[in-house]
């Protein structure tokens, strides 16, 4: 009986030991597997990161090269004779004018976009009213417009009103996309502010505008800033409309100015890359900071960036 008990007692212990030994080896195996997987993941990511940033690195290194060092029989990634001449030339020829035009257009687009769309976005976010779904749907469809569909009539209208080759005409052209985009994004940001705050404000005797202006808008300042930034960036980067509408040297925006470094046979790559780096770096830095909010806004909060 006692023997039996000890045996019975011993068996589970042995079984336990065996199973723990088994667990040990399988765990080690799993850890090993996880280790190789993790190395594999890092290798994949490092390759992808290199592919992603390589063109930018090439732009930067080329911008410090002398023209004769750019196309050589053997590729030299780093500039063999680094120079700042390209930047000096670019900054003293044309670039400041293009920059000023781009800033003017970008800031005006941003201000017009936010001023017209934020009250509308608040109304969409807060009130159930007749025709709301219809108007929202129309805004969604305008986001789908191929650029060409408004480009042609706008070109002809601007020509009739003598607005072709005019910097301010581009603000109008960019507002066509900035307005619906801003309404959609801002609505999502306003939706994230609890409606109870509005109720509380109403109980405290604030009217709808006061509630919007003093309570909801201050709470969504980061969102508003991000929408403003993306409107600015769209204007800063846009090529097709600017290329179609602008003509004279003094009206060019940055993309058009930089495109002038390309000729029928080749391009002034040393100037082009220097100017391109100057255009890219500021928006790149702000974009990498702001992208989380863009993703949250675009997907209606279903995804956090």
């Amino acid at each position: 009986m006692a023997k039996q008990i000890t045996q019975a007692g011993a068996l589970p212990a042995v079984a336990g030991k065996a199973s723990s030994r088994f667990k040990d080896s399988s765990m080690r195996q799993r850890q090993f597997k996880r280790g190789t997987e993790s190395i594999g993941a890092h290798v994949i990511m490092i390759i992808m990161v290199l592919v992603c940033i390589f063109p930018l690195l090439v732009l930067i290194t080329t911008s410090f090269k002398q023209p004769t060092d750019i196309f050589t029989p053997y590729v030299q990634l780093l500039p063999p004779h680094p120079t700042l001449d390209n930047y000096k030339y670019v900054l003293s020829h044309g670039f400041p004018t293009w920059l000023l035009n781009s800033l003017k257009i970008g800031l005006l687009t941003t201000i017009v976009g936010l001023a017209l769309s934020s009250p509308a976005a608040y109304a969409f976010s807060r009130w159930q009213f007749l025709g709301k779904q219809g108007v929202l749907l129309i805004f969604l469809i305008t986001q789908m417009f191929p650029g060409i569909i408004l480009l042609i009539p706008l070109y002809n209208l601007f020509s009739q009103f003598n607005l072709l080759d005019n910097v301010y005409a581009l603000v109008i052209a960019y507002a066509t996309t900035a307005l619906p985009f801003s309404v959609w994004m801002l609505k999502n940001f306003f939706d994230a502010v609890p409606k109870e705050l509005d109720e509380a404000a109403r109980v405290d005797g604030l009217g709808p505008f006061q509630t919007f202006w003093r309570i909801v808008l201050p709470l969504t300042i980061p969102g508003v800033a991000v929408v403003g930034f993306f409107n600015f960036m769209t204007a800063w980067n846009e090529f097709m409309m600017a290329f179609t509408f602008l003509e004279s040297e003094s009206n060019l925006t940055l993309p058009l100015g930089i495109q002038r470094y390309v000729h029928a046979f080749g391009a002034d790559w040393h100037y082009l890359t220097a100017a391109a780096v100057l255009v890219t770096i500021p928006v790149l830095v702000i974009f990498l900071w702001a992208q989380r909010y863009l993703i949250t806004g675009l997907t209606g909060g279903s995804v956090k960036g």
Binding site: P55, Q259, F287, L288
Partner: protein, 329 residues
């Protein structure tokens, strides 16, 4: 008794409904007051031009017959309505295999499908890799976003530089590996492949980041429960990850298709639609019709509305498919 008792309730409910309606109308009035600045702005700069463009698409307008301002003198427009002629000529060209237009249609199809597939597959792959605890994850995630953060025209120039024949870095690398160099600028097939490479490079970051967000919002309890039930990793991927990712995946691929369809700067700046018009898509081709001599605004507008029609039909079918397939999971 019962009838007497009911009568006032019915009246009360009618009264209630009336009050609710008045309340609703009040809110509607206030809402439109807030919408006025936006709606007026949109009416002037979007809807009026849209209608104007729609009218133009039924005319033979080109640079020689639209209204012209020469200082104080204004020559009135002399273009005429031609009915559906612009639309019929575009569509009949599509069925003529030797015309540029039919090639453009095919190229647009290849362009959109190739981009959509590569964006999604590579984006999902990277999102799955990034969706695990690993060191430097946030650094990888940030650096991967560089193509999206760069202005598109700058990206176009950077790749134009890399594609440069013989001395460009890509051909130089091929030469170093003793491979034949690629004539990116003169070979129509390679030119289109080059453009697709650039646009895949541009579009993958958006897919990766949004799909990663989608993956991270799947509750981990689901995976734990399935592990207890003894499911393999493939099964977990197939029966948890994919269905849970579905809504966001559909949304971002829809956005992606629309954006890819509308890409202009990349194609225009890298190949200009050449060689021999073999890298044009509908958008860039429509632009050349409308803004290169003889600037056929009517024909170009017709192209614009055909493109919009295609996108709308695609969106409707796509969202129907999404809804009807939901029962499968």
């Amino acid at each position: 008794m019962a009838i007497i008792a009911q009568a006032p309730t019915r009246e009360a409910s009618a009264e209630h409904a009336r009050r609710e309606l008045i309340q609703k109308l009040k809110i509607t009035g206030r809402a439109y007051l807030w919408l006025i600045p936006l709606l007026l702005g949109m009416a002037v700069i979007v809807f009026y031009p849209l209608i104007y463009g729609f009218v133009l698409s039924f005319t033979n307008a080109f640079q020689g017959n639209v209204a012209l301002h020469l200082g104080a003198v204004t020559l009135p427009a002399t273009y005429q309505f031609v009915g559906l002629k612009n639309y019929t000529s575009i569509i009949s060209d599509w069925f003529n295999p030797s015309s540029d237009a039919s090639h453009v249609l095919l190229q647009t199809f290849i362009w959109v499908v190739a981009n959509a597939i590569f964006h999604f597959v590579i984006g999902l792959g990277l999102a799955l890799v990034l969706n695990r605890k690993m060191r430097m994850r946030s650094i990888y995630r940030t650096l991967i976003m560089v193509p999206w953060a760069m202005p598109q025209f700058v990206a176009a120039f950077a790749w134009l530089f890399l594609f440069n024949q013989q001395y460009g870095y890509i051909d130089a690398a091929l030469q170093a590996l003793h491979l034949p160099i690629i004539y990116w600028g003169s070979d129509p097939v390679w030119a289109l492949i080059g453009l697709i490479i650039v646009n895949v490079w541009l579009g993958v970051p958006f897919m990766t980041v949004t799909l990663l967000g989608g993956l991270q919002s799947i509750p981990s309890e689901l995976y734990e429960a399935s592990a207890i039930d003894g499911s393999s990793r493939w099964q977990a991927f197939r029966y948890i990850t994919l269905p849970m990712l579905r809504p966001i995946a559909f949304l971002v691929s829809l956005l992606d298709v629309i954006w890819t369809f509308n890409v202009f700067a990349i194609i225009f700046l890298i190949t200009g639609g050449g060689p021999f018009n073999r890298t044009h898509t509908l958008i860039t081709y429509a632009w050349t019709q409308a803004f290169l001599t003889p600037q056929r605004y009517g024909l170009g507008s017709a192209y614009g509305f055909i493109i919009l029609f295609i996108l709308l039909v695609f969106t409707i079918i796509y969202s129907r498919l999404l809804r009807s397939n939901e029962a499968i999971y």
